[in-house]
Symmetry: C2
Subunit: 476 residues, 2 copies
């Protein structure tokens, strides 16, 4: 297989930021700052005729004034300045320009659409490839390139191909807190040159990527897209969120990235037939991403649930069943085992296991989880952290830490998929300092460090598990 | 209307905790501690023959040893000790016993079910009313009675009738962070005496309650329940979450509160016909609760959305439409107004309003929200906080504070329902100290202080809004 052109483009030896700035409220500042902040090791050239220096680095009036060659340019100049800049790029041997610059076809104006086409032609003539316009470009932690603040600095193995930059940033921060780490993220906007198919092709070959996530508003060429999707999905899991499912979403898309949205049903069918997995919103994209990232294949629907207390046990049973999982009654041999080991309330323990009734019985929800992990009747396990505010600090802290330690032990000892539920809350400013919610944070951090996926509710864990099951069943 | 018997029972002059304890890992400790901690102003009598003193208060060997009368007893003694305790209660003129005590019919054992019935008979003979058994009892902030830690101390106007205690505690903490405050919460477990109908009757009369929330696993008498529900729903909004919708949930219920779960479809139809609103899970119960609590009636489906950036604007348009709202194009008169006021990108601004394109245009998402608030074509507004990590601390802090200030101003100046979206994240331990997520907390706190409901996603805001619309349409 020949090397994909993006492989060289995404490993630039030097990056110029056209329209760099010292003003932190501009993207020209942000792009330059990120290169320093995330530790980009190549040469950085801020370009702006109004500054002699930007962020402590020498600034150049134009790209032409940069000594030596430039591989990659991030453009934050106005739309009207792009054609001139491309000429400068051409003289410097630039391989790729990422056009953060916007106000092209997405405005709906003819003159802007014409300018966009002129840019495409000139770039092609000069042999310069384009990412964008109207997009945030590249987040590549291994290379020290980023378009957002507080993205993880450690690299990982998930790639995201996203037409939206703001949505990508939101997704990265949601998913990063649940342990996802990225090989590369590309926000590609209007897709004037490189488009979703090129990125799919590239990531399907990319050794740093084991999972491909996509947010697509519209595709340029349906046939090529489905081919690229099938090919990529045959190599690694691909999860897609489609924007513009309804009329108003399609309208919002026209002014967002000038894409044409298609019919939802056709889309869903085509995506599934291509072997990819469709997500219905950002939350589900996140749930599926962490599931594929952390879990072994889910091969059957029979779920064992431990934890959560009486009411939450009922909720989780309902939600698992509604998601299409099978909450089987406790197998006879487990009931026998409980009885023989002298568990005092053995006849009251079930699946889900309501840990609130176990109390001082000497038998815990983790004990039950371990028994389920060893039993061949269960295909997957859900551990639901029992974190209701019914206990005082000392007791609750010790108990929950034990519970998490137990989950991690079960994960290490068993090959069964283990999903954990740790609730999210809309914390107010005082809650950030409260031991109870900080404890939840500590426990989440421990689970993630052990490569265990967490979900905000049992229902979301169950829905994700069901989609993984369907995915693995289709591939058999 | 005669006074409901619960009115006197819920205002006890004295409370004894049978099975009180100095050991913080017991409920006997917790119930006693809460009376002190939440500031109960009546007399508190810890009862336990093994302690001379509990939490600094004199402890009594039995209820009989308490000087004077006792109005209300919280029982944390074992099931086998309840009959004796009831005799003592009888001699002291106790009006109501809350049986936290469990291990009765929910165990599935005949002897336990028989003991439960014996307790019922004896209590009835002695004229003592029962709450429970197998439940957490009462949270009544105005009276200083609680069954959980960190529940709000300030009273409010939402009542919760819940068969589960753990689920109630989880709900209270979820909803409290989104601004809900409670008149009274009752966890009633096996409903041996007082049941869901009694509580419905009571709260429909209760002047402290303007909104009734319910979590029900099963009802004792379907006809009486639907009558009570219709009557209550004719006076104030009633929102119900039903547990045990599937087979496994029903099984979990049998061992949780020994209730019989019924068919989901029949339940949904009956609840809607009775004029109540059905919630499908704890998250939706929370969304609906804060919506009814804070919003004026929603009388039409036409929604104006401002904020969230490009991708999130597409998401919110899709999610609103899928929830059954109408994301109308920007009315001509608004486009005219934008053009005439010299907004430079007036032709690019739409509904949803993508604030990421507004930049330094001098026109903000809040300006758009204000225009939509004044326009008669919109029935409700959703403001989506643009909090993606694409800006540095100083700029983002100032901008988001301005945004929230604007939302609050619009809320004060307009009578239109205003829903706000502020994302939730699975914070890890370090995130609790990060300015970015603490800022989100600060902004949530400000919104809630201004009585504005917040939702974690646009989709959840939209679904709740749609259910309110249907509710108010049915009542017309």
């Amino acid at each position: 297989m020949s090397t994909h052109p993006l492989e060289e483009i995404l490993h630039p030896q030097s990056i110029a930021v056209a329209g760099a700035s010292d003003n932190p409220s501009t993207q020209g500042y942000n792009f330059t700052y990120h290169l320093l902040d995330y530790g980009y090791r190549g040469k950085i050239y801020p370009v702006n005729p109004r500054y002699p220096e930007i962020l402590g680095m020498k600034a150049y009036p134009t790209i032409r004034d940069i000594p030596g060659t430039v591989d990659y340019v991030i453009s934050a100049v106005p739309a009207s300045a792009v054609l001139n800049m491309l000429e400068d790029c051409s003289s410097k041997g630039v391989k790729c320009v990422h056009l953060f610059t916007a106000r092209f076809s997405e405005t709906g104006r003819q003159d802007a659409a014409e300018l966009e086409q002129a840019i495409r032609k000139q770039a092609r003539k000069a042999g310069i490839r384009l990412i964008g316009p109207n997009c945030m470009g590249l987040y590549y932690p291994r290379e020290g390139i980023s378009f957002g603040y507080d993205f993880p600095r450690e690299p990982g193995a998930a790639a995201l191909i996203s037409q939206t930059g703001g949505g990508a940033a939101r997704f990265i921060s949601l998913a990063a807190m649940r342990g996802l780490r990225f090989s590369k993220v590309i926000s590609y906007g209007n897709a004037l040159d490189f488009n979703e198919c090129d990125f799919l092709d590239y990531f399907s070959q990319d050794a740093e990527t084991k999972l491909i996530l996509m947010y697509v508003e519209g595709v340029k060429d349906g046939k090529r897209f489905l081919n690229a999707l099938s090919q990529a999905a045959s190599v690694k899991p691909v999860i897609i969120l489609k924007g513009g499912r309804g009329q108003s979403g399609a309208r919002a898309i026209a002014s967002h990235t000038a894409s044409l949205a298609g019919s939802t049903e056709i889309w869903e069918t085509a995506v599934t037939q291509a072997g990819a997995v469709s997500a219905k919103n950002l939350d589900e994209l996140t749930d599926l991403a962490v599931s594929f990232y952390f879990l072994p294949p889910i091969l059957g629907p029979r779920v064992g649930i431990s934890g959560g207390g009486g009411g939450p046990s009922v909720f989780s049973a309902d939600e698992c069943e509604e998601a299409g999982l099978d909450v089987i009654p406790l197998p006879a041999e487990i009931r026998e085992e409980l009885k023989n080991s002298g568990v005092p309330i053995w006849d009251w323990v079930g699946n889900p296991t309501d840990v609130s009734i176990l109390g001082d019985s000497g038998f815990s929800g983790v004990d039950m989880l371990r028994i389920m992990a060893r039993n061949q009747n269960f295909d997957l396990l859900i551990a639901y952290l029992h974190e209701v505010p019914l206990s005082k600090k000392e007791g609750m802290t010790a108990r929950l830490r034990e519970e998490i330690k137990g989950y991690i032990k079960v994960k290490k000892e068993s090959t069964k998929p283990l999903l954990t539920v740790v609730g999210e809350r809309s914390l107010g400013i005082k809650d950030y300092r409260h031991w109870r919610w900080k404890l939840t944070g500590e426990l989440r951090t421990k689970l993630i460090a052990a490569d265990i996926p967490i979900y905000p509710t049992a229902g979301r864990a169950a829905s994700a598990a069901r989609k993984l099951l369907e995915y693995y069943q289709r591939r058999k």
